[in-house]
Amino acid sequence: MEKVTQLDQSHVDELYAEASYWHVNTGDEVIHAKRMQGRFRRIKWYTATVWLIYFFGPYLRWGDRQAVLFDIPNRKFHIFDITIMPQDVWLLAMILLFFAIMLAAVTSIAGRVFCGYFCFQTIWTDIFTFIEEKLEGPPAKRHKLDKAPWTWDKIKIKAIKHALWLLIGVITGIAFTTWFTDAYQIWAEYFTLQASLIAWTSVLMFTLGTYILAGFMREQTCFWLCPYARIQGVMYDIQTILPTYDINRGEPRGRLVKGNTVEGNGDCISCNQCVAVCPTGIDIRHGQQEGCITCGLCLDACDSVMDKIGKPRGLIRYSSHEELEGKKPQPLYKRPRVIIYFSIMLIAASGLLYGLTNLGTFDLKVIHERQPLFVRLSDGSIQNKYILKILNKTDKDMHISIDVDGPDNLTTQGVKEKTLLPSGKLSSFIVFVRIPKNNLDSDRTPLYFTIHSYESFDDNINYQSMFYAPRI
């Protein structure tokens, strides 16, 4: 009954040859990467310092408030001199667009730079393994300790390690909350146990998240959890520079014999250092693959080995597929994707700049009453009702006058000469406009509302509405 079509075995071998080395770590082995000094290691430390802003940024003051504060309960985002209210939230869309396209642009030029040098997952994992190495020693010792029976010494080391990890988690969580509530105030609240439930929950979630993601999941997060890892992977093209093993120079690889390369062999001496240092545990010599976060640590490892055996550096180097094939790399400004990405970034940045410089003092909306659209009055004139909603976006109380411009002999009701607009509040006014019927030559006449500020003369704001009358 069994019907198996016999295929030519050699074809099948060919089919699987490419995947024969394929080894995927689904979390059953713990990767203890070796730490090595080098150029990219140093760059990694520098780029990691960007995250110091995350920890210390909120303590910067601006006048009598925090310089950058995302005040969600009051719906106000303070960024230095600027206060952004929900009306201006389109700016957020511009920021997101800018950074999304920046990710695409950078990825198309130099691969997963974000993953390798800036991502919190990479950096927190790096810090966690740094602590691990200080306490437990180099990778070989760590593997041994993991397998060793539970002795008092092992418990002591592990306990300190996990305590430090949790501490980093707690600090990370607290740092997160300081962006949303005054930093000094929330620290006081934590110490007096007065913080809100949301604050405590955030700290707890961040502590657990940091502890689990950086302590245990590590490269598994990049493999299976992170969508950006996959998205960025498809943004490469043959012109993208990536950590690449120069297969032409390295192969056929072979170990040193009596301290010398064997005649006919390539430069790769199978020392496996590139694999030992890889934080995601891949072998870069198999080419670009999903596990590679382009952190450049294998470049450092290989370069140091090449130095030792007296060969030129760069057996593993940042190189594009095109370059490896011997083609001359195209300059950036000739690459359509780069041009398109940068154009979109420019548009987003211009939008952002325009938005930030034109935030304005007021926001005015005029709502025309629809029930009734108009009213006939005893003296033959027509009356329309408008609801004006004026938002004072500044942090000062302002005084305004409301002007209505339209046909001749227009009179208004409900408009005071000097009206107070409390700071940061939306005030609404009902304005009645009367126009004699003879002065109207259409059933719809444009009407212009202007808000004049007493405090600053540049901050006038206009709104065009409509005056409705019976059909003539």
């Binding site: 009734p372 009213v375 006939r376 009055l377 005893s378 033959g380 009702k385």
Partner: protein, 282 residues
């Protein structure tokens, strides 16, 4: 099933085989699934302890937190009433005119009495006071019984039922046509029939009506009984009157009483301010 009868022995299957080779294995479910399963039932147990959960015959288990949706609603209501409270106390016993003069208080009334207006007034007068066929516009400045705040409060409190006698006995059709035409064109004061037939007694020599009687202003072009054919409508009103019990074709126009048991004094006062502020208060 014993292993001898099992066609795939030693495989950790249930022993059930379909279509010769299809069988169910006894593998452990994946870890993530088991974590989810246990987390779910633990959640249910904790939830049932904390919150009302199991229905009993007449009631349900209460839960140790003592939470109920009704309590939560009451709490929210209390929070709203705390905001309204100061205004409401201020409103009690304050004359409507004083409420109108107080800007903050009248703003509060305009916002909060919208519901009251919607519940009690808008069925006839429209959601924005725009009126309806047979029901007067409240947003204009033409008032049968006066447009001051006190007049409006009185109209809501006591109701209004005006009366215009049917004129068919003393006005013939041709005369009614003449009168209706003069009213429609706003020339009623110069129409001799207006004086002759005694219309001036209620509508005044100038035809502007009298608020004390509730007689209509005949020259402002605003019609109490709006119709497609306004001329015909005016003639009908002249011939058959308003609320005249002797004429079966008379017009019905009655504003019910809202005082007494229907609405509280404060509610009526709020509505008076609200209506006054619709656009035509005097």
């Amino acid at each position: 099933m014993s292993d001898e009868k099992n066609p795939f022995p030693g495989e950790n299957n249930t022993g059930h085989v379909w279509d010769d080779s299809l069988r169910e294995l006894l593998n452990e479910p994946p870890t993530w699934w088991r974590i989810g399963f246990h987390a779910s039932w633990i959640f249910v147990v904790i939830y049932c302890i904390l919150y009302p959960a199991w229905p009993l015959l007449t009631t349900s288990t209460k839960g140790v937190l003592g939470w109920t949706s009704l309590d939560e609603y009451r709490q929210d209501l209390k929070a709203i009433e705390e905001v309204r409270g100061p205004y409401e106390t201020k409103l009690k016993g304050m004359p409507a005119a004083a409420v109108l003069a107080d800007e903050e208080l009248s703003n509060y009334v305009v916002r909060s009495a919208k519901v009251l207006f919607g519940d009690n007034c808008s069925a006839c007068h429209g959601a924005g006071g725009q009126g309806n066929v047979g029901f007067p516009v409240l947003a204009d400045d033409d008032w049968l019984y006066g447009g001051t705040i006190d007049d409006i409060e009185m109209s809501i409190n006591m109701g209004r039922k005006g009366m215009m006698p049917a004129q068919s006995a003393i006005v013939n059709s041709a005369e009614a046509d003449k009168l209706a035409n003069a009213i429609l064109t706003g020339q009623i004061a110069s129409e001799p029939l207006f004086m002759e037939k005694g219309c001036v007694g209620c509508h005044g020599v100038d035809g502007k009506g009298m608020a004390a009687l509730g007689s209509a202003n005949l020259i402002d072009g605003i019609w109490r009984f709006v119709a497609e054919d306004q001329l015909y409508s005016i003639k009908h009103t002249i011939m058959h009157g308003v609320n005249d019990p002797s004429d079966p074709k008379t017009r019905n126009a009655e504003m019910p009483t809202f005082g007494g048991t229907k609405l509280s004094e404060t509610d009526i006062r709020k509505l008076a301010v609200y209506v006054h502020k619709l656009g035509g208060g005097q």
